[in-house]
C-alpha cells in the first residue's frame, strides 16, 4: 500500500467512522424521511443538546449531511442519500451473526 492509497483509505474510513456510532447512525436514518432540526433529535433521545449538536457536526464534517439555518432553528438533511444503502447490508451481517449464534447455542 503506497502513500496515496493510504490517504484514500483513511478518507473512506473517516466517512464510515462518522456513521459508526449508534446515535449518529440513528440520526442519519431519521434524515432519510426528510430534514429535521436539532431539537427534534434532542427530544427523541435523552442526550444533552450539546451532545447531539456535536454528533451532527461530525456527520456534517464527513460530508454526509448538510445544514441550513432558518430562523432560530438549524435543519439538517442527508447530502448523499445512498448512505442508507449501507443499512441493508449491515442488517444482513447482523442476521448472519444471529443465525450463527443460534445454531451454536442449539448444539
Amino acid at each position: 500500500m503506497n502513500e496515496q492509497e493510504k490517504t484514500l483509505y483513511a478518507a473512506k474510513a473517516a466517512v464510515l467512522k462518522a456513521l459508526a456510532h449508534p446515535t449518529r447512525l440513528w440520526m442519519a436514518e431519521q434524515l432519510a424521511g426528510g430534514e429535521k432540526c436539532v431539537c427534534e433529535f434532542v427530544n427523541a433521545v435523552d442526550f444533552d443538546f450539546s451532545t447531539i449538536s456535536k454528533h451532527l457536526a461530525v456527520l456534517k464534517q464527513a460530508g454526509i449531511v448538510e445544514d441550513e439555518k432558518r430562523g432560530k432553528q438549524v435543519f439538517y438533511r442527508l447530502k448523499v442519500p445512498c448512505v442508507l444503502q449501507f443499512i441493508g447490508c449491515v442488517e444482513a451481517v447482523l442476521k448472519a451473526n444471529l443465525r450463527q449464534s443460534c445454531s451454536t447455542a442449539g448444539k
Copy 2:
C-alpha cells in the same frame, strides 16, 4: 428511541465501526478478491504481525469475515460480501466532498 432500538443501533454501529479503520477497510476490500492469509497482509503493509492479527480479529468479531486454519497458516475470507457495496457510496461521498472543496477554493 426505546431500549430495543438502542440495542439495535448499537449492533449496527458496531459493524460499521469494524470497517471504519483504514487498515481494516483495506483488508476487507482485499478479501473481495478471495481469501488471504495473515502473512499476505503483513507483507503488504508495514505493520506488526500482531497489529494485523488484532485488526482481523475485530472484523471476525463483527461477523464480517471468517477464518480457517490450514496447516500453519490462517486464511480469512469475507463472510458477507455485500459489505463491499458500501465502498461505492463512500466514494460518492468523497467525490461530493471534493467537488465542494474545489468549488469553494475556486471562488
